[in-house]
């Protein structure tokens, strides 16, 4: 399917998980398609990067669930910061491990999983709904009962996929994209290149097959679809462009790069390099 078709399945008010990590292998082409739609009022669940920054700047987020938002080489995401400082949306701020266990709980259809993180910190203060659970064994240790982060839909980007939805990562880190797909009712996967199923294991080992087709709803071929985040080994982060993103006022950036379709985005980016 196309990015537009994937986004047409999303609805305002949904809880939407976005894969990748910080400014790494984010499904940016799908996020750009989302920005061209009128879908909003979203609960976004993300190890945040420019995906969160753009959606926050465009006013599409009602609530954000995250442990951080960063551009990695630029530690503080400027558009996210600005949105937070003007109180633009609600925040559910949890620890990185709590976040992972929330996705895992959802993937396993568990209401919660115990996690040794959060107690003693202000994560408990700013999330008054969080409950604890005590070990029934001799140790008697108390843990945070991290609730499942069940998603209406997930968006992730990988290096290769077949048309059935078997997705492959070729870089050093899978991040948590499989968990996002397993935690979601519907998952849309963009990839650098769609290949025949037999191609997937021709040059890469089977353990690179991160996403299984039964967890994937639709596949979008999106070359350079993680731009300007990194997508190793296909390409690294476009640091120059990321810097432009971070230093350009949002209305100007959106008008220059996001007014047209993905082809227009690519040609606008190309004109600058």
């Amino acid at each position: 399917m196309t990015a537009e078709e994937a986004v047409s399945r999303l609805e305002s008010g949904m809880t939407l998980g976005i894969g990748g990590w910080g400014s790494r292998r984010k499904p940016m082409a799908l996020v750009r398609a989302l920005l061209r739609s009128d879908v909003g009022d979203l609960t976004v669940v993300s190890y945040g990067g420019p995906d969160v920054g753009m959606l926050a700047a465009a006013g599409r987020i009602r609530r954000l669930v995250t442990a951080f938002v960063t551009l990695d080489s630029i530690p503080l995401e400027p558009h996210y910061r600005a949105a937070r400082e003007r109180g633009a949306f609600e925040l559910t701020e949890v620890d990185e491990a709590m976040f992972m266990w929330g996705l895992r709980a959802a993937a396993h259809r568990m209401p919660f999983l115990p996690v040794r993180a959060g107690l003693g910190s202000d994560v408990m203060r700013v999330n008054p709904g969080l409950r604890t659970v005590t070990s029934p064994y001799e140790d008697g240790e108390t843990f945070v009962a991290m609730p499942a982060l069940r998603l209406d839909a997930a968006l992730v980007h990988v290096n290769r996929a077949d048309r059935l939805g078997n997705g492959q990562y070729l870089g050093p880190d899978p991040y948590f994209d499989d968990l996002f797909c397993e935690a979601a009712d519907a998952a849309y996967v963009s990839c650098e290149r769609v290949v025949d199923t037999a191609e997937l294991t021709k040059e890469a080992a089977p353990q690179s097959l991160l996403l299984k087709r039964h967890t994937v709803t639709g596949v979008v071929e999106a070359p350079n679809g993680a731009h300007f985040t990194s997508c190793a080994p296909d390409y690294g982060r476009d640091e120059a462009f990321q810097k432009r993103y971070a230093t350009t006022a949002w209305p100007q950036f959106a008008a220059r790069y996001l007014a047209g379709d993905e082809r227009a985005y690519r040609s606008a980016v190309g004109e600058e390099t």
């Binding site: 937070r84 109180g87 949890v94």
Partner: protein
Amino acid sequence: MKERERTGRGSEERGGPAEAWAGSAEAGAGSADVGAGSAEVGAGSPAVTRAEYCVVACAEVWRGAGEVLVSPMGLIPSVGARLARLTFAPQVLLTDGEALLVGPGGAVEGWLPYRQHLALVTGGRRHVMMGASQIDRFGNQNISCIGDWARPARQLLGVRGAPVNTLNNPTSYWVPRHSRRVFVEKVDMVCGVGYDRAGDAPHHRLVRVVTDLCVLDFGGPDRSMRLVSLHPGVSVEEVREATGFALCVPDEVPCTREPTVEELRLIREVIDPGGARVREVAH
């Protein structure tokens, strides 16, 4: 831990009990004048800089750590971690900053994607050195935001992994600019958990705080912050002035130890030949 060769001198009024990271009195009775003593390090080599004392103080945090992952955040802690690995802590594990475990020469020796990194954190075989936008006298640390969390005056990173780190593996902190803005009475958002809030958390341990002025630990009353050593040229008054709460200061505070000739060579020629360390501590 046996003291290694050292070339420096302890200042007489500060020459307190010798600990691994502190200069000892017998290491050479020098004057309190910083510039003079440093010239003893290798004929013709430039004086030891503050950034280099910081590197050594960070490295010392991992002395005796054993076969654990060292996670330095910040440039000077990273140089310190590599220095420790190349000298007195050869067993420690280091990453490339992403998903690979690497040897001192950069050879890949293992795979550690984030999901396994989080398992390693909770397994406890790790000692992290995080940054701190704010830290209080019991070691509560904030990297999330400044001001009211509901609508912050300054949004920072978010809690990141500070809650899971502090409840599961030894944690130290690095503060490149020791000031009252960082060392506060009360942090705005507790990300890393301090001693007064850890309760009976079984694996909570805060080890040290290294700054551009000094080394601190939590050996004060009720596990409050205590001055351990001063980098040469820094006074107790200077540290007190830059700290926004009452600091525990022992009667005698030694100097942070001098780097050895070999350590200086490694820092200057092998680990950070471009001198990037001065970007974090500019002298």
